[in-house]
């Protein structure tokens, strides 16, 4: 969440949401967080991660780390923009593959 106004009128594209579970044994520590941020940053859409009511940008290392994604925890990936579906699929794939750990 940001204090800037939502620019809903200028946002073209759509929204995609998917629920995922942290599968890798150490959870989302620095290395998986970096991989996640790098993956999300490749898309033009705004990508967020939500856990327990806290929402952070999936393009922010510090944001992703503050979520404290311990093994087994559930998260919601949400993207909004021209490539929303691809972004969510790419990030969800990392969770699915346990961040290659």
């Amino acid at each position: 969440m940001s204090t800037t106004e939502r620019k809903s009128s200028t946002t073209i594209g759509r929204e995609a949401i998917r629920e995922v579970v942290v599968k890798n044994p150490l959870g989302i520590h620095a290395r998986p967080a970096a991989l996640l941020v790098r993956t999300a940053s490749a898309f033009r859409s705004e990508v967020t991660l939500e856990k327990g009511g806290q929402i952070v940008s999936a393009k922010s290392i510090m944001g992703v780390l503050t979520l404290a994604g311990h093994p087994g925890s559930k998260m919601r990936i949400r993207a909004e923009g021209p490539d929303a579906e691809k972004a969510v699929a790419a990030v969800a794939d990392l969770f699915e593959k346990g961040f290659y750990e």
Binding site: M1, S2, T3, S60
Partner: protein, 314 residues
């Protein structure tokens, strides 16, 4: 999320020095009203307007009074107190817990705690801490720094350079409060900004990675929390058509119901805006002191324009 008894045992309530005597398995009991109550009247048998939704605090007065009653009445009073559905009971001065109290508490699955603090001190601290714990809270994406006593939240799209700009400000004597994720709490003194525990005092700088700021730049380069005074919004230089050029009508944003001044600064790649932010913060302070450069200059211009029957003096 409503507060629960467990929150009174967390780090933010450490000064209460509470120890659980019974009901450790019921610490998830909610505290519907974040306030304290001394149940003296209820213990005398008067239950109308009993503030049963608050944390109950008993001191020497309550316990001494109960000793004047016979055992049956005493047990009955405790039973009725707990039957009202109180969140928890705290005994001050490490007072002894009579067995009938514990029995009544267990029957209603209500935690009982004890502290060495005296009653008035306990009541004051507990009220303040409950207020703090219940304060509305919001996590925003943005970096917060303390610039000579002025708390500034830097916000803007990912990649605009919030952290890099903050690092520049820290190198010029500011302190880091939070990088990229700022937690805001609405207190009586205003909005208080702090970082999230896990990443506290760390920054991420593209190209370098994660930095521990106090190790790198010394302990004075960080602050645990700071009152937020202004928001600086960083926008890409090509999208900055609405940038304020005069400063006569400072923009305000509302965060958690508190109005905060906000300025918008266009950022072009490679442009160093740390000096602009420093100037904005100092100008904010100057305004607080009653000097408004834009207003004073405008006043001066209007005066010279209206002098001599509308003819402009050149």
């Amino acid at each position: 999320m409503p507060l629960c008894v467990q929150d009174l045992l967390g780090p933010r309530a450490a000064e209460l020095k509470l120890r659980v005597i019974c009901g450790a398995e019921h610490l998830n009991r909610p505290i519907p009203e974040p306030a304290v109550n001394r149940p003296g009247l209820a213990l005398t048998g008067f239950y109308r307007y009993f503030a049963h939704r608050r944390v109950q605090i008993c001191g020497l007065a309550e316990m001494t009074y109960l000793k004047t009653l016979d055992a049956t009445t005493r047990a009955e009073r405790w039973r009725r107190l707990f039957a009202a559905g109180i969140p928890c009971l705290i005994l001050a001065r490490n007072l002894r817990t009579p067995p009938e109290l514990l029995e009544a508490a267990r029957a209603r699955r209500t935690p009982v705690m004890r502290t060495e603090l005296h009653t008035s001190r306990l009541a004051q601290s507990a009220a303040r801490i409950l207020d703090d714990l219940a304060a509305p809270c919001l996590r925003v994406q943005g970096t917060t720094v303390d610039l000579q006593g002025i708390g500034i939240l830097l916000e803007g799209p990912p990649g605009i350079g919030k952290s890099e700009i903050a690092l520049g400000l820290i190198a010029r004597g500011c302190s880091l409060v939070a990088d990229d994720v700022t937690e805001l709490r609405r207190m009586s003194s205003g909005l208080i900004a702090t970082s999230v525990e896990v990443t506290r005092y760390h920054m991420e700088i593209r190209g370098i990675g994660i930095l521990h700021i106090p190790s790198l730049l010394g302990v004075s380069s960080v602050r645990r929390e700071k009152r937020l005074d202004m928001v600086v919004r960083l926008v890409p230089a090509d999208k900055s058509a609405e940038v304020d050029r005069i400063g006569l009508d400072p923009e305000m944003v509302e965060i958690l119901g508190v109005a905060v001044p906000r300025i918008t600064i266009p950022v072009a790649p490679g442009r160093d805006v740390t000096l602009v932010i420093q100037a904005a913060a100092l100008n904010y302070r100057l305004r607080q002191l009653g000097h408004d450069a834009a207003k004073e200059l405008d006043q001066h211009i209007i005066e010279s324009l209206t002098r001599g029957g509308g003819r402009v003096n050149d």
